[in-house]
Symmetry: D2
Subunit: 133 residues, 4 copies
């Protein structure tokens, strides 16, 4: 299993008039954590795009257990639990002061620039095979 840890600090722009973070913004935080996970693998997403890959989201879910607020520091754990095949899933856990406040996942496939599904880049598979073997 691959795990990465990221910290984001809730922006005022991310709150709504309920006084809490708007539910749609969690998906941007998932992105931050996902980018970080790829960084930690030595495969920055920016590089993948430069090589013609795209990693669109096919499906996503979030569960909100406790509200988060402006200025909260959220620790986001991103998990890749299985060797990717054509599709793969990243799981997320969000913590504020060690309390689990939210969970979620995103499901992805590699595509080319025009959106056609393609095999994952070789470097990606090699790195992951070493980890998941």
């Amino acid at each position: 299993m691959i795990v990465s840890n990221s910290i984001i600090r809730v922006r005022y722009a991310e709150t709504d008039m309920m006084g809490i973070a708007y539910y749609g913004n969690y998906f941007t935080w998932f992105e931050v954590a996902r980018i970080h996970l790829l960084d930690s693998l030595g495969i920055p997403y920016r590089k993948l795009e430069e090589q013609g890959y795209r990693l669109p989201v096919l499906e996503t879910k979030a569960v909100y257990k406790q509200s988060v607020h402006f200025d909260d520091n959220i620790e986001i754990k991103a998990f890749l639990k299985e060797m990717p095949t054509v599709r793969f899933t990243i799981n997320y856990e969000l913590y504020v002061e060690s309390h689990l406040v939210s969970t979620g996942y995103t499901c992805h496939a590699f595509t080319n620039i025009t959106g056609q599904p393609i095999k994952p880049p070789e470097i990606f598979m090699i790195k992951l095979k070493n980890i998941f073997k």
Copy 2:
């Protein structure tokens, strides 16, 4: 079952460098459709908040079948399929030129201003009982 139809036009701000709408923005569109569903019931969400109710999201999911693009007109159908209890779910279907491009749901509970779960407003339940009887 209650159904409402909304149209949103994809904003440039809602696209990303993949040339498609960013996956997190769908949740704002769900909101637009949800607000519209409440309007169609004669219970504007603004009024509910004025009366001390809040309707936070407890869980949400989106499935992306086809990308949507800048300037696309998206028809969003929002469905309330069952008589709400303490929790209730709204389902969404997004169409571009009659093609189903995305589905999703949001799960809600009524709370007071401080986030404590409370019974749905009476007017809400009366209206819905008439529809679901």
Copy 3:
């Protein structure tokens, strides 16, 4: 002078914990009005992009006279006051129930896909010459 009128309804996602619309979201609304202005000229921005043009923002300003709130219907007037040259400016006025609540402008130049300044598309100039003559 060219004027277009657009209506946007403030989304919950666009509010912040101050209970009003977040100041950065006005620039998305300016975009909505700008797209609408181009539509009204018979030159949809989508078409301009398909022909290889881009219209990045070089400068923008907003003045906030009165707060706007969730569910407000904002009427946005967009003005093109002068025949465009290499650069051109669009002015905006935002009204809620006929009260002027905000003003602003965006300054633009036409560029190609790689961001190099280029002459405006001929159809754009022809249409505008007819209006500004």
Copy 4:
């Protein structure tokens, strides 16, 4: 003069289909830098709100000199150049790899919860008097 330095990393969500960061997102980054400036003064904005103060934006401007891209690290300098009176201005400079890519400002006033202008909090004025004397 008071200066603070912040770093933000451009999120995918902040890009648009032009392949660059959307112009409206700079105002969120200004906010991040502004919050950081208050932190550096020992007056977290969160605390100000808890004491009943609000700091709405009255006016803002941004100048875009060079595009910024996904994954760019942007260094944001925020400046408070003058002793605040009823209104005050914060200036921003954005740098990518030491190149100035954007400038801007936000103009603010202190208000109470209902939006009425009020005197700045005493602690704010005391701290600033020591710096600007």
